[in-house]
């Protein structure tokens, strides 16, 4: 049960897409190693409610592919060169936050601004639900090295609270006075979708009037060897439709998420296939759009293969699978970018070897879909690092299969 919840703001901060001031539209800049480089680019265009422009046409634009070296994408101290913290967040008070916290705050600022602010709800009616898998892995590496090689006294007392990943969500709550609740979801790969699902359920149950649902990651190459590196954050402002319409908010569309689980050893059984097919069919029905496309972020595991097979049977247009990275950001990025001007309704599916899988549907508001400039009216090109078997899936969805990720290089859209 998630009720009639609408999206009123979207914010994205990811390599090649973040810009403090400009509009998006520049070409994506990916270094030869696959690491993001250069200045931040624009994730959102301006006052029209923070809609990610998606001008490059790649729904995963900004997530680096391949295996970037740490040095190629990182500033001194482990800070990532693609993100200008002072430009994004201000000159004071943010420099020493963990990178994932910075990304989350920046994405949320964009989403909240796009939604017209949150002041329409009292602080105790504003909430946050944030998904992550590896927001603090780099911090953990650092603490572990210092404690084993030295002493806990060597740790910065200011940094010590960051052993608990929900502290990053708490920082978000402090910035926007989100006092209704703050949830931090961490299920492998699906946590970002769970933030949407859990948050929407809480809205439907009356626990809050408006919610910032988000996903954040700060992965480094050694955290997920051989997989796309995930850095950045996505934030989506959700609120009950009646409330949004009452205050005259621009409704970007609707979205929903459903997370589930298939025991890895049972995913390929007839029971597993049946359960997964039910989930996909239910999500497709909920999306209710014959022209919808299915985007997949998969990892080649038995659960992924079973989910992919189930998706192939729904009768919607199925895109080739995108190789999943070491985190929950890629699916959330696809969901957030579903509110691109004139984009078709989209079903995003993802799964992981641990057994978690999730589906999220996005349906841009009709007026929104029709009112955008033709320049944005392009279908996303195949996502980066997509994997297609020889003779793989056509846009109609027939006959594709997963191929393991390539260990090096990147494939621009």
């Amino acid at each position: 049960m998630t009720g009639d919840v609408v999206v009123t703001g979207v914010g994205i901060v990811a390599p090649g897409t973040a810009a403090p001031t400009g509009r998006s539209g520049g070409p994506r800049d990916i270094s030869s190693t696959g690491a993001p480089s250069g200045r931040s680019g624009g994730a959102l265009d301006g006052p029209s409610a923070g809609v990610p422009s998606g001008t490059s046409g790649c729904p995963l634009d900004g997530l680096s592919a391949g295996v970037p070296s740490r040095t190629s994408g990182s500033a001194p101290g482990g800070r990532e060169s693609w993100f200008d913290v002072a430009a994004e967040l201000g000159p004071r008070g943010y420099k020493y936050l963990p990178p994932a916290s910075q990304y989350l705050l920046a994405a949320a600022r964009r989403a909240v601004a796009a939604a017209g602010g949150l002041e329409h709800a009292a602080p105790h009616r504003r909430a946050a639900a944030v998904g992550t898998n590896g927001a603090l892995r780099a911090y953990f590496d650092d603490v572990d090295a210092k404690v084993t090689g030295g002493h806990s006294d060597d740790l910065s007392p200011a940094g010590a609270p960051y052993f608990a990943v929900n502290v990053l969500s708490g920082r978000l709550a402090s910035e926007h006075l989100l006092k209704a609740f703050s949830l931090t979801l961490t299920s492998p790969r699906v946590a970002g979708f769970e933030a949407v699902e859990t948050g929407a359920r809480a809205l439907a149950l009356g626990r809050a009037d408006v919610l910032v649902a988000a996903a954040m990651e700060h992965g480094l190459p050694h955290h997920a060897p051989g997989l796309p590196m995930e850095q950045g954050a996505v934030a989506i402002v959700l609120e009950p439709r009646a409330r949004a319409e009452e205050r005259g908010a621009v409704v970007l569309g609707t979205c929903f998420a459903r997370a589930g689980f298939a025991p890895p050893g049972l995913a390929a059984t007839s029971e597993g296939r049946r359960r997964l097919a039910e989930q996909v069919e239910r999500a497709a029905a909920e999306l209710g759009a014959a022209d919808a496309e299915v985007y997949q972020v998969l990892d080649g595991s038995p659960v992924s293969r079973a989910l992919e097979a189930a998706a192939g049977a729904v009768g919607l247009t199925v895109r080739p699978a995108v190789v999943a990275g070491g985190g929950c950001l890629a699916p959330s990025l696809l969901l957030a970018r579903s509110f691109v001007p004139a984009e078709r309704p989209r079903l995003v599916i993802t799964a992981t070897a641990e057994g978690n899988f999730a589906l999220a549907g996005a349906r841009p508001a009709p007026a929104h879909r029709e009112s955008r400039a033709p320049a944005h009216n392009e279908s996303p090109a195949p996502a980066h690092n997509e994997s297609r078997a020889p003779g793989g899936r056509s846009p109609s969805g027939a006959g594709s299969s997963y191929r393991p990720p390539q260990p090096t290089g990147s494939q621009p859209c």
Binding site: A164, V167, G170, A173, F181, T198, N356
Partner: protein
Amino acid sequence: MTDVLVTGVGAVTCQGYGAAALQQAMTGAVAPVPERIPDPGANLRHPLILRVPGVAPGRGRAARLVTTAVSEALRDAGLERRPWPGRVGVVIGSCMGEAMLHESGRCAEDDGAGWRPTFRLASAVGEWLGAFGVNTSISNACAAGGFALCLAADLIRSGEADMVISGGVDAYSRVGWASFDRLGAIDPVRCRPFDRERRGTILAEGAGILVLESGEHARERGAIGYGRIAGAGWSCDAHHLTAPEPTGEQIVRAMREALGGSGEPGCVIPHGTGTRLNDLVESRALRQVLGARTGEVPLYSAKALVGHTGGAAAALGAVAAALILRSGTVPQNVAIGEQDPECEVYLPVSGPVRLRTPRVMVNAYAFGGNNASFVLEQAA
């Protein structure tokens, strides 16, 4: 509204395995003695821990704790035989997950997997059970188990699940212990909430699991419950990364929301960690909520008995609440030196007291200002 019943409990703590061991320890009220962390890499000022005994070293320590507690809870609920009818979910809270996977020298560094997510405990339970259905990991630090139980109840109330296996778990992690140590939050003596001389907490390992079912589901299979989840309240201080908001405004709101119109509780299991400010703020907040009856509503301070089990703390508090409801008695608390006169709460230490009202409220607070309160009460 759909009734959410507690039909089975499982507990693993430094006091041993099983809710019966916990019950026995509650009756005995003897403070556990912290041991030195058996990790040569743990270079801390106060390398103290309350460990679960008898867990073999190696990978997946937290997973072993939680599956042990799940196994007991299912037996307790009469659910040994599968497949189970209805839709079954898993919601597990943990602050640190399986952090040891990424800590130097604590397990095999590389098993060939490209990615080893830290928070895989709910997944591990789901795989172990062979359970299709909702499977969620929540990491609201030391309140994670409380939020997990509340989310599980929401799943049942919203009609998305008929039964949810839920609770919390945390095992030793070098990073977690070191960070607490650096924050000066470790008491070098023991965990002694509300004591005038308290100096912090003692971190501990543990897992607490409850089987939650819709009333209809439980009745259909003839299950006898411990009680029902009568209410839940959430809030966020939005104030400070680690310190509670001094007025306690938001924790008061969460408690009042949890209590709803059901009246005052017969017992409160406080968050009560033993850190100076937390115990003080919670005491004052309880006085705001309970008013003139504060001195008559007994607190049961679970952390004095099992330490601060992080993401398991509120779930173990819920197990203790279920045991208190079933027995109708609030055990005496582990004795403390002298109760802090600023913490004006009723902490019985000289013997058990009768549970006058069959309703127990559990509080769960965490870094990040995350607060959850929930109420277990005797089912009609």
